[in-house]
Symmetry: C2
Subunit: 203 residues, 2 copies
C-alpha cells in the first residue's frame, strides 16, 4: 500500500490560507488535519483536541525532550508544535495529513521530511493583498505598512516551496491543490511497490 502524503500548506498573511484548507478538508475523504499542541490558553469556543491540544509548559517541554515534535516554535511567549506520533500513524495507514503551518515551521519540516508536499498560497495581486490586510483592521498607516512589508517578505520565501497556488478563487485553488496531491501520488518514487508487484515474479 502507498503511504499517505504529508501536505504542508503555508501562505503570507492575507492570502486566505484558512478558508482554502477548510474547503480542502471538507471535500477530501482521506486527508486529515494535523492538530497542533500549544501552551496558550484556550479561547472561548475552543475545545481540547479539536482546534489544539492544550498542554502545560511542563508537558510541552517534556515532549520537546522526547523528540515528539516534527517542529515547534515559541510565539509571543507561547509554544506551538506539531506532534509527530499521530501523523506517522495516519501516513502509514495511507491517509494524507495536512499541516497548515507558518513559513518558518514549514522550512523546518522541509529539512526533516523531504518527501512532504510543500504548497505555498499566493494572493492574486498586490492590490488584493492590500485590501485583505486593510480588511483585517490595520487601523494606523504604520500598522498597515508593517503588515504589508511582512507579507511581501513572506511571499518571497514562497520560492523555497515546491508548488505555488494563486488563491484567486477558493474553488480554483482547492482544485489545484487536489491536482497536486493526485500528481504526487503518481510520482515514481512513491510507487516502488507498483513496480515490484508488476516485476516481482519476473526479474
Amino acid at each position: 500500500m502507498q503511504k499517505g502524503l504529508l501536505v504542508v500548506i503555508s501562505g503570507a498573511s492575507g492570502t486566505g490560507k484558512g478558508t482554502v484548507c477548510k474547503k480542502l478538508l471538507a471535500e477530501s475523504e482521506k486527508i486529515f488535519y494535523s492538530i497542533s499542541a500549544t501552551t496558550r490558553q484556550p479561547r472561548a469556543g475552543e475545545t481540547d483536541g479539536v482546534e489544539y491540544f492544550f498542554v502545560t509548559v511542563e508537558e510541552f517541554k517534556n515532549w520537546i525532550a522526547e523528540d515528539k515534535f516534527l517542529e515547534y516554535a515559541e510565539v509571543y511567549g507561547n509554544f506551538y508544535g506539531t506532534p509527530i506520533h499521530k501523523i506517522e500513524e495516519r501516513l502509514n495507514r495511507g491517509e494524507d495529513v495536512l499541516l497548515e503551518i507558518d513559513i518558518q515551521g514549514a522550512l523546518n519540516v522541509m529539512k526533516k521530511r523531504p518527501d512532504g508536499v510543500y504548497i505555498f498560497l499566493l494572493p492574486p495581486s498586490l492590490e488584493e493583498l492590500k485590501n485583505r490586510i486593510k480588511g483585517r483592521g490595520s487601523e494606523s498607516p504604520e500598522t498597515f505598512e508593517r503588515r504589508f512589508q511582512s507579507a511581501t517578505n513572506e511571499i518571497a520565501t514562497g520560492k523555497k516551496y515546491q508548488y505555488v497556488v494563486v488563491n484567486d478563487t477558493v474553488d480554483a485553488a482547492v482544485e489545484k491543490i487536489k491536482s497536486i496531491l493526485a500528481a504526487e501520488r503518481c510520482k515514481v518514487n512513491r510507487n516502488e511497490n507498483l513496480f515490484e508487484k508488476l516485476l516481482g515474479d519476473v526479474i
Copy 2:
C-alpha cells in the same frame, strides 16, 4: 506568460498508450500532438503532416546535420525523429506539446530537456499485460515469450521517469495525467514571473 509543458508519455507495449494519448488530446484544449518525421513509406490512409511528416532519407539526414531533431532513431532501416522547431514555437506560446515516443527516445529527450514532464504508463497487472500481448496476435509461444520479456524489461525502465500512471481504465488514466499537468503548472520554478509580478514593485 507561462511557457507550455513538454509532455512525454511512454509505456511498455500493450499498455494502451495510444488510446490514452488520443483521449487526452481530444479532451484538452491547449495540448498538441508533436508530429514525428519518418523516412518510411506512408501506409494506406496516412496523410503527410497528420500522422507523420514523410520525408526522404536525404532530407532526414540534412535535418540531423542541422540539429533539427529533439531525438531520432533508426528502427528496422527507417528513421523516425521529433522535429524541435514546431515544439519550441508552441511552448513559447504557452501551449503544451505531447510527445508519444518510445522509451529510448524519451530517455534521450530527458537529457536535453530536464524541464519536460515524463509520464510512464503501466498495465494494471501482469495478467492484463499478457492478455493484451496475446490479443495482438502473438501466435507462437516463442513470439509471445519474446514480446512479454521485452515488455517487462520496458516496465523496469519506467523507474527513470518522473511519474507513473496505471492504465486500469482509460478515463482514470487520462484524469491522472490531467492532474499531473495541472500540478506541474503550479511548480515554483515554472512561476518565476508570478513572484516577479507580485514583488516587482516592492523588493
